[in-house]
Symmetry: C2
């Protein structure tokens, strides 16, 4: 597909023509550039240098064997990647860290009664995919940072194992204390499931992928189709990343010689109970053996049984023994010194470690990064070295807990705080629609880039295709926004990939780029994330890998070359308004629900409405929800809006000829730092950003204005006014920074 | 449970005390009575005469063997029922009709490729339930009034086989012409499925119960629990009842000697293609053999497979041969001549034919009717003969198409039109919450009765328990209504039981009573609707059968004895307002959808948003929806509201001493006739009611103000203004009738 596109556009077509073809009339100017034509010509060269055939070859090479953190093939990949960067003219270092990484030695799950069943814990070898036959150096299904354990107990089915599920269990009079829970994957990041189970007293946890969510109900299963077959298991970390990511023994500090390390037993991010992921084939006999009440509406999956909650009569034994080894991980860091502003860094990263072969996760994003880096290196060799320093990073040990990126950020925190302009992340990629999550201060910029890139299937711009998708499948709110808002909203980031330490720990404006929606995630973290699966089902022909390279390549080059950095603040102000509205609505919803719930209890409506022959009881009384003082947030937002409007106007229309651009640009990229607070978030000071955080009880899912939102959600009503005030204080500081930036422009 | 209740209340407690205990303070007065105490005392006697033990014995007797229309045991039941009525002092006749009733001779369903499978079409014998072993005289699974057929073709999965499913198939480019469709039970009455399939060109239809809707996903399956096991099949009629019910050969006329009959081949209500219901066990190999695209979201059931649409490669043969026999059906009609107003008839009915043993459907409702009738007979014998004539009817051949009741109504149409005050129906019953559907002119009355009866589980009134249930599980609209509306709304009636000819053909104010919501419908129309299943799962101890007898007994006695009939019109006016609001909203929704759909087509949003590698295409352009002239309906409703308010006030507060009550009562019960039109509904003149009708493309589901609603739904926009005018004309006539009634009161 990409070959077709470049053929159509031709090698000699001028940059403006490309821009017009991509989105007619949308790119008369490029924000931050005086000479848009030169920049667009550079981008065209970069785009033309991209080759699907080359990405394909790299993908095949990098995903030929399992290459998890610490594996032999992972180390080979590191050298291969480093050599590529070197060959393209980069200064390359391999940055090593010495981290704790448990790997499974023994895994045992047995249904001991009323019938017996020993879980196989093995993924099938498929003759259609030779990679699935590789067993040496391949990690079996397990959850990284599960505790060791040898537990026996009655089984309880806890649905997705999220807070509302435990509220429901309480209504059934079911206590999981001393029990082993079995939870479905989904609705929360996996690490939340053992965390909540342990908080409720469970002694072990099993997680499985139900075919209703991730299996034959989605479509044909591998190898007939892309979806999860009955032996497939989603591996993954259960490290308590919402507390802090990275090496569990060195919170906030780099895992290098000289850093004091916690004892393993004192590491707070290791799960409190043993936990094991299994296939739906292994889950079936366990679930079938459960008795007790039939599950409530919405809890059933798609296994051909009646789902029961338990507890028991199913009794299981779960035994896990890990090798708590210290290993060396290796990030590849490739640097191209900036021609004009060497102390302003544009950082672009993707991890290189996979769970197994990792053809999709992370190789599909990694090959796009490599293609981009090759093109940027080529431009530099041809004399068009970027104005700012560009750093390409291939991170190690992302899968067990964002470890490579986190340790690197912790090691270079001072320099990064000073110099990092932006961090641009990719990870697994697939066919479909563009997705950009990130800092709202770059919303307009990302919209400009999305309008510059052509979708390889439809030959309209990425922005236009995304708009079409949202107008067809979006909810009413999204559709209204499409009509009333010029820019597509950039999703706020929670966690789940290597942007986290940059954005949430240091306050570096960040983004995460990818495509999806037309490619199944059924291979995610299984043995079947192979080159064969990827090229058959995720992105045949590497069309979207090339498009991703174009998208991030244009982004990197523009950030690196812009005379004035393309930060704007109106979009942030608008999104903050939205989040404030959501918080007020959330409080009101909880207020209404508490009132209604308590009135129904007083009137004995549950007593009359519920079936007396079943054990489902009434919910608990809810604490009354007071009205909160949102005024400080509103005042702060009003200030941000005012100063943002003035600053954006000055940046877009003002005369910048007499401005010290180094000072102005520094003010612009330092703005995101002003959204952080050195005291961090309540109970987790590693997380410093006051606008975006991963949810403490949702995991990857983002919580915006997290101090306030999580206080309300956790019903800590006494704290809400305080958290509003703290957040408002940070936002006021941000508004002042915008004012100060504005003052730089005459 | 009932024994406990009567023990608590005691035999000597005065009527007022009963009333207060049931719902304190709610029944100081009884609408229509001057001496409420006497009436309540009669009702108390009736209630005290009810015996769960007796109902249990009758149930066991009546459901001991299969007793479908025309069966030997059905004829025995008729004699048994007739004898009971006679023993209680009723004048009993057995009213026979001579109708067409096909029964299956041969049923064959074979998957002929790519793999072979011969459907068993047999329900398992369960050692836990001896009734399931009975095979003589038991009807096998089939759809009554399927055509004969011997067809072969590719199979297509059509989801529920409702109109929107065919729209989706069209988007996939799939035409069912010449194919055999397989549809899930649910979302529409079953007869709609072959009707729509035939309209789209299919040559055969298979219907099955998916376990997602009716099987192991609901709960444990029979005999472990009440739900449908993998061999269970829902039988049922596919006669095109929305056109007309009753004998297919004698539309609008009684099936008696002298009536001209259609040829079988000319009967318009026989299905146009052969159709067969099957179990999910038999459906599994068929669905598994389907290829083509994976089904869209929402189409999958809970069988452990990936659902595909087809067509093919699955090819099936469907062969059905019926014996198109003429049989004699027998209604039992038991009459107790009214002491004061013999020419005002209160009619109370329940069918007696089942599909097999029919312990739930219809015997659970029938034994309640018998208990009630015994009590009313006892009161008469003790000198408290009802003021009006009470007629108890046990209908035959309800299952194949409301045939016994329809033929009887058609035979006695003149007398019924003249004399019928109300028709009160019951059918299958279960444990749970009270449900009353019916004429809105009796809404206040039914609320009064619901407040008089105590729920046997919670010992609060039925009304209070229903309110509690709605306040816990109701949607926002329902909850708001609970707070703002004094009376519980009475659901409008579509079709599905024997009230249809009374209400919709003749305009006799009708109602349908039952309990449910805490008792599975998994046995519905299967071999497992047995005494054993019923007493284990549907209503252990017959507590709700007794409560149903109390509810309908009080209703019958009050209607029979009221000095002034308890019709009121404010509730109707309010519900008509609601329906009008719904119609305007429906038109607006279709207008918005058409606009949005056509805009998305113009902008090529579907072209850009849809996955080009899949066959799902854009929807069709929709016709523009004009604005309609709702003014005539609004004016008519304003008149109804005004006259209803005046009439209700006069009835409740006026001096009726000088009023000729016979004339007034006649005006009151004749009011429902004024909601009908002799020309009927478009294309189906048998249906004369202009407020309630079963949906032409939904079946049992009600369409209120059907002329207008169905014109909008069918996008016959040119007709809407006309249908509004016609409906408004009828409603104006109704308002005039209320005025005339009002004028009777000085």
């Amino acid at each position: 597909m990409h070959e077709l596109k470049t053929a159509v556009f031709g090698l000699l077509v001028a940059a403006m023509a490309v821009a017009e073809a991509a989105d007619e009339g949308a790119i008369k100017n490029l924000t931050g550039f005086v000479d848009a034509n030169r920049q667009l010509a550079l981008e065209t060269s970069l785009v033309e240098s991209l080759s699907a055939t080359e990405l394909d070859a790299w993908s095949k090479r990098l995903s030929a064997h399992a290459h998890h953190a610490g594996s032999p093939y992972g180390r080979e990949n590191v050298r291969f990647i480093a050599e590529l960067f070197r060959s393209w003219g980069y200064d390359v270092v391999i940055e090593a860290f010495d981290i704790l990484l448990p790997v499974p030695k023994e895994r045992e799950l047995v249904l001991e009664g009323p019938r017996g069943y020993r879980a196989t814990l093995i993924e099938d070898v498929l003759e259609e995919d030779a990679s699935s036959a590789e067993r040496d150096e391949v990690l079996p299904p397990y959850n990284a940072f599960s505790k060791d354990g040898n537990v026996r107990g009655e089984l309880v089915f806890v649905n997705y194992g999220i807070p509302e599920d435990y509220e429901m269990l309480e209504r059934y009079g079911i206590d999981v204390t001393g029990k082993i829970v079995i939870a479905k994957y989904g609705k929360s990041w996996r690490g939340i499931k053992p965390k909540l189970a342990a908080e409720h007293g469970a002694i072990g946890a099993i997680i499985y992928s139900d075919p209703a969510d991730d299996g034959y109900i989605q479509g044909d299963v591998y190898p007939d189709g892309p979806f999860k077959n009955d032996s497939g298991v989603q591996r993954g970390s259960v490290m308590d990343m919402p507390l802090y990511p990275g090496d569990v023994l060195t919170p906030g500090e780099p895992a290098i010689k000289g850093t004091r390390r916690l004892k393993v037993t004192a590491a707070p991010t290791i799960s409190k109970i043993p936990v094991l992921p299994i296939s739906y084939r292994d889950a079936l006999p366990l679930l079938k053996a459960l008795g007790g009440e039939v599950v409530p509406a919405g809890w059933s999956g798609a296994l051909p049984i009646t789902y029961h909650i338990g507890p028991g009569p199913a009794r299981v034994k779960l035994r896990l023994v890990f090798d708590w080894q210290r290993i060396t991980i290796e990030n590849v860091i490739a640097r191209l010194e900036g021609a004009i502003y060497p102390d302003e860094w544009v950082i672009r990263g993707n991890h290189h470690d996979g769970w197994n072969h990792g053809a999709s996760d992370p190789v599909s994003g990694l090959v796009a990064l490599l293609g981009e880096a090759k093109g940027v290196g080529m431009l530099a060799a041809e004399g068009a070295r970027p104005a700012r320093t560009v750093i390409y990073a291939a991170w190690d040990a992302e899968e067990p807990g964002l470890i490579g990126s986190t340790e690197w950020v912790e090691k270079y925190r001072r320099e990064l705080d000073d110099k990092a302009v932006t961090y641009l992340n990719t990870d697994g990629n697939g066919r479909g629609f563009v997705f950009i999550g990130g800092s709202h201060t770059l919303e307009g910029f990302f919209n400009e880039v999305m309008a510059s890139v052509t979708d390889p299937q439809t030959m309209v711009s990425l922005a236009e295709r995304r708009r079409a998708m949202l107008s067809v499948t979006g909810d009413e709110k999204q559709r209204k926004e499409l009509e009333n808002r010029e820019d597509l909203r950039i999703a706020p980031l929670g966690s789940g990939s290597d942007y986290t330490p940059f954005l949430q720990h240091l306050g570096i404006a960040s983004a995460n780029f990818g495509f999806g929606g037309e490619s199944s995630h059924g291979s995610y973290h299984t043995l079947y994330d192979t080159y064969q699966h990827y090229t058959r089902f995720r992105d045949p022909g590497f069309a979207y890998a090339v498009t991703l390279a174009e998208l991030t390549g244009r982004t990197t080059l523009r950030m690196a070359n812009a005379r004035v950095l393309p930060f704007r603040f109106g979009g942030l102000a608008d999104s903050l308004e939205l989040y404030l509205t959501e918080l007020e609505a959330l409080a009101q919803t909880q207020r209404d629900e508490a009132k209604r719930n308590n009135r129904l209890l007083e009137e004995n409506s549950y007593g009359l409405a519920l079936d007396a022959t079943k054990s489902l009881g009434a919910p608990k009384a809810l604490p009354k929800v007071p009205f909160f003082n949102f005024a400080p947030l509103k005042n702060a937002l009003a200030e941000i809006e005012e100063s943002a409007t003035a600053l954006d106007k000055a940046l877009d229309g003002g005369n910048l000829d007499d401005v010290d651009l180094t000072v102005l640009n520094r003010h612009l990229y330092q703005s995101e730092r002003k959204l952080t607070s050195s005291e961090g978030l309540p109970g987790r000071d590693w997380y410093r950003h006051q606008v975006y955080a991963p949810g403490f009880y949702t995991g990857y899912g983002v919580k915006t204005l997290p101090r306030v939102r999580e206080a309300i959600e956790a019903k800590l009503y006494d704290e809400v006014d305080h958290q509003i005030a703290v957040t408002a204080g940070v936002l006021e500081g941000f508004a002042e920074h915008l004012e100060a930036t504005r003052a730089l422009i005459p």
